[in-house]
Symmetry: C3
Subunit: 200 residues, 3 copies
């Protein structure tokens, strides 16, 4: 992998970017952003100081990541995904006109390892998206998503569970074998429990 590589039209002001990470055209990584190894940061993405990305994160084009957002290893952040860090934004607050909220307004967000966020998903500040979860394209996430949860819609609601390979699981009698990769899961109140790895 070697050193991080930056497209000549990118703007990388952070000195905390891991080996093998690539940053593409017109993407902006601000000072104070921490980015792991072997990430891929697409065109027009923006990563603010105070955010943290693990290793092997894919950040597709046009994604906006703010101070207070923590993204685990191996997460897929689809094209145009929008994070937020303020549940009650006011332009005037910065100027002090609306008092009382000049501090403590930042609400952190966490995306656990290997989750995938579909194109155009909007992640409202304060949620935790569980490991290997799949957020459908265009979903507006206002509540926590459990590990391997599949959520869609506005507001996002859980409509099922997904496999490690991201395929939707179909449980019958408390068991599901993935249509695509063959992993076997046992159903539990907290979601699928991997029973047997894929053969492939």
């Amino acid at each position: 992998m070697g050193e991080a590589r930056y497209h000549p039209l990118s703007l990388v002001e952070s000195d905390d970017v891991g080996e093998g990470t690539r940053v593409w055209a017109w993407a902006h990584v601000m000072a104070g952003a921490r980015i792991g190894k072997d990430c891929n940061i697409g065109d027009h993405a923006f990563i603010e100081g105070g955010s943290t990305l693990g290793d092997g994160v894919t950040v597709k084009n046009g994604v906006l990541i703010w101070d207070g957002v923590t993204i685990g290893d191996g997460v897929f952040v689809g094209p145009g995904v929008l994070f937020t860090n303020d549940r009650t934004p006011r332009s005037a607050r910065m100027a002090g006109a609306f008092s009382t909220q000049t501090q403590g307004w930042l609400t952190p967000t966490v995306v656990e390892a290997d989750a995938s966020l579909g194109a155009g998903a909007v992640i409202v500040a304060g949620v935790r998206i569980g490991r290997l979860a799949l957020v459908g394209a265009g979903a507006v996430v206002t509540r926590d998503v459990p590990p391997q949860g599949l959520v869609v819609g506005n507001p996002a609601r859980r409509v099922g569970w997904v496999c490690h390979c991201a395929q939707k699981l179909r449980f019958r009698d408390g068991l599901a074998r993935c249509d695509r990769c063959g992993r076997l899961y046992v159903e539990s109140a907290n979601g699928p429990i991997l029973s047997e790895a894929a053969e492939g």
Copy 2:
């Protein structure tokens, strides 16, 4: 505040930008756009000629503002917010192939002072968003929003009222005191009426 300041990677073609306004990387302010004082225009934002922004407007990254859009003083336009100015777009129209609509297709939009538009909100041409309203993240606004209205969803529906500080208000017996800033409101058919300012 002094002069407007433009990031060297921005593109500002308007000569009608107020003092103290800052424009960041890869943001494009076209000729004919009018922008007030002390605004902040984030990376990758686009502001077309024929649009007007008041003073103290925050335009977060990736926002698209078109001819026909008027934004009042102190408005917060969240990341990735999309405006529109045409309710019936056709590519061929510009070439005259679909006759009859080569003129008069532009539908204006107004956002009143101190409103806040959450991340990824889509504002359909022709609406008026009232003073201090809060449009939730990912909302698709197809109808007018009253002052201090809180709207969410696709299409956006009003689910409550917000305080000057943007906190959701909880009315009981016709009164609401903001949980956060302490302002007191009286309920009316047209929304909250400020009765007493915050102490803080």
Copy 3:
């Protein structure tokens, strides 16, 4: 029209762009993208290799078009429209960690001639959007859209039919004359059939 024209701040790596096409600031057309004549590609748009655009296509600002997407002549792709090409994305897949899906993951999408996609629409991989259809602003399209179909919402549902000029049609007794352009349509199970052109 003559040659294609590229803004000095654009990045066009494809050599398959038709005459008269214009590409604006910070737009990126990758090698292997095929773009027809007289298209207009707005600021911050991204067009990946393996995608195909017909003639006279309008691609507004910030649109993301991927390998596997085919867009017909005369299509209007509104601001911030997001395409996708993978229904089950995982960041780790590229590194082989989730086996079995390193091939065959790309799902193609087709937009037929003269359709219009409203601002911020998200097009889930695998759908076909019919000729002259109108996808409403902010719609999340998860299923095929019939020709002249009008779809809105998340997920997008068909709520009517539109005229060639994009105006919504109002059928009565199996006939609709467009309010705006005067075209006359006969209702059929598959949508409107043009009976008589507009006078204008």
